[in-house]
């Protein structure tokens, strides 16, 4: 048994008794491996006695699960209405320029910081009141 198989087995065992265990399992797998790939889908399907199609259907529905790991650092930038009202579209070009190919700039919709945008998230850290300089610095340090 590969270590991946073993680890996924452990994750499944941990959540198996819960009502509706699939999302908690997928979260843990995504966290552990940085993605939920086809191998993981197959193992989870087997463990929960579901079809692979069912598991893939769920995985592909949600934005948080990705088929491949992201190797670059990720900066999530909110581009929803309230952050647009505060000018996020004027700084997104600077963020992308600073990012180049090294950093992934990901669009998200609302981080709950809507009075103080433009807002961004890196890992579990949140950033507000971003302007051109601040967003450039944030991306450069990501």
């Amino acid at each position: 048994m590969s270590t991946k198989e073993q680890k996924i087995g452990e994750i499944i065992a941990e959540h198996h008794g819960r009502e509706g265990p699939l999302l908690p399992i997928l979260h843990d797998v995504q966290e552990e491996f940085g993605c939920v790939d086809t191998e993981a889908e197959a193992l989870i399907a087997k463990g929960l006695n579901l079809s692979r199609a069912e598991v893939h259907g769920v995985v592909s529905f949600y934005h948080d699960y990705t088929p491949e790991p992201e190797t670059r650092p990720v900066v999530q930038i909110c581009r929803a209405e309230a952050c647009k009202a505060r000018g996020v579209e004027n700084i997104i070009g600077d963020a992308k320029a600073a990012a180049g190919d090294r950093v992934k700039i990901q669009t998200v919709y609302c981080l709950g910081l809507c009075s103080s945008g433009p807002a961004a998230r890196t890992g579990d850290d949140l950033h507000i009141r971003l302007d051109k300089e601040a967003v450039t610095k944030l991306v450069e340090n990501a």
């Binding site: 509706g20 997928l26 209405e81 009202a85 919709y109 809507c114 103080s116 949140l126």
Partner: protein, 519 residues
Amino acid sequence: MTQIVKISDDALARAAGADKLAAAFEKKGCEVHRTSSWGMQWLEPLVEIDGKGFGPATLDDVDAILDGSSDKAIGTIEEHPFIAAQTRLTFARAGKTRPLSLEDYEAHGGWSGLKRARQIGPEQIVEEVTASGLRGRGGAGFPTGIKWKTVLGAPGPKKYIVCNADEGDSGTFADRMAMEGDPFALIEGMAIAGEAVGADQGYIYLRSEYPDAIRKLNAALKLCADIIAPFKCEVRVGAGAYVCGEETSLLNSLEGKRGEVRAKPPLPALEGFLGRPTVVNNVLSLAAVPHILKEGGAAEYAERGIGRSKGTMPIQLAGNIKHGGLFEAPFGMTLGQLVNDIGGGTASGRPVKAVQVGGPLGAYLHPDQFDIAFGYEEYADADALIGHAGITVFDDTADMGEMARFAMEFCAAESCGKCTPCRIGAVRGTEIIDRIRSGGRERDTLETAPQMHNTPKDKGRSVEQEIALLTDLCDTMKFGSLCALGGFTPYPVMSALKNWPGDFVNNPDAVEKALDAAE
């Protein structure tokens, strides 16, 4: 005696630098209490010493704040106009207590609603919640007492309380602040709901975009497990789908399925989580309950507000606004009062152009409509909605054509895919708006080819015809969608087109004519 300094540990305060500030005050020998946030977000990080506030504070302000010479002083916080003008019932403890301190929670009236609920029993609880006039704060405004009565009367050995903490609407953050700042109040509300309907298991479906709230609620649940027992409760983290805020989609997600919306009936109250009777309520609905269940609380709640909008609403002032934050007030204030008097107008200092109320599915209101009173029916009458009470302000640099397009784009990106008008219509909607903005559409080479017998050989679609098409599409979405994502996206789109035609075309009269003709 060591100086006690209060600094919030709310996510917004932390993003504004509250952690470093707290460490700096500790280094100076102060005792720092990390409290919830007062909700004056433009002043975060706000430092409180002996009831007096200083903000927005930076590390450079620490010495001056301590020696009393700081120019960041705002005076006594409770007397600040932004706070003094509020009626805080759901957010009564905001700014005052440490979120994870059971001691603070009890000292400020915590658990008294649950204690009383246990004495008076299910029927009486439901009666008091009904009498309070509380309506669902998640958007639909359904009377909470009636929902609970249905679940109480539903047969079945196992029932559930599900808290909808998916708060996906742009411009809203009251759920986040309630969960981070006063987690025990939400848990108490859920335990009371459990008592009322005979449920012993609760789930909080919390969006993954709120890491601080997830951490705090998990910690709070551990701390109060004995107090709420035999009621049990667990946090379930969402996976980044806006539509999972819709209650039936949420239930599917909780069960481990795709977050597709279910047709109603059956109502979740009768066949909800795993097919069992389930209360699904928004965070604010549940967090309002402990106050309502206190002796005399229901009457105190019901006597506030206007018409069928009773009690208070935690309103969120967001976007391009000078004084953004959380403002809890009885229903009835006008939009103009909220935006200009309380909010102080735009942050940029430019004129207000548009205000979106109720998140991405809410209409864009024009300053001409500023006398509209904050209430469910009042907004519905204006083809608008209060939704989760987010108010997003735009100044005159906003391009409303761009915002209308974004509304369609958002709907297309977040559609659960079940209905065609929403899944496909929203994509077509962005295309039509693009064409309106680029002056209509010419026939392409293929269409003009003589072999294409069925294509019209005219010059193409004019702007007027494109507008008629958009109006028709919006009607189809309104009446042919299963849930409000597809059904309400037309509100921001059409309100933007009606109020700011000049942001779509050079000749605004053409829009008016086309709209009139389409009606």
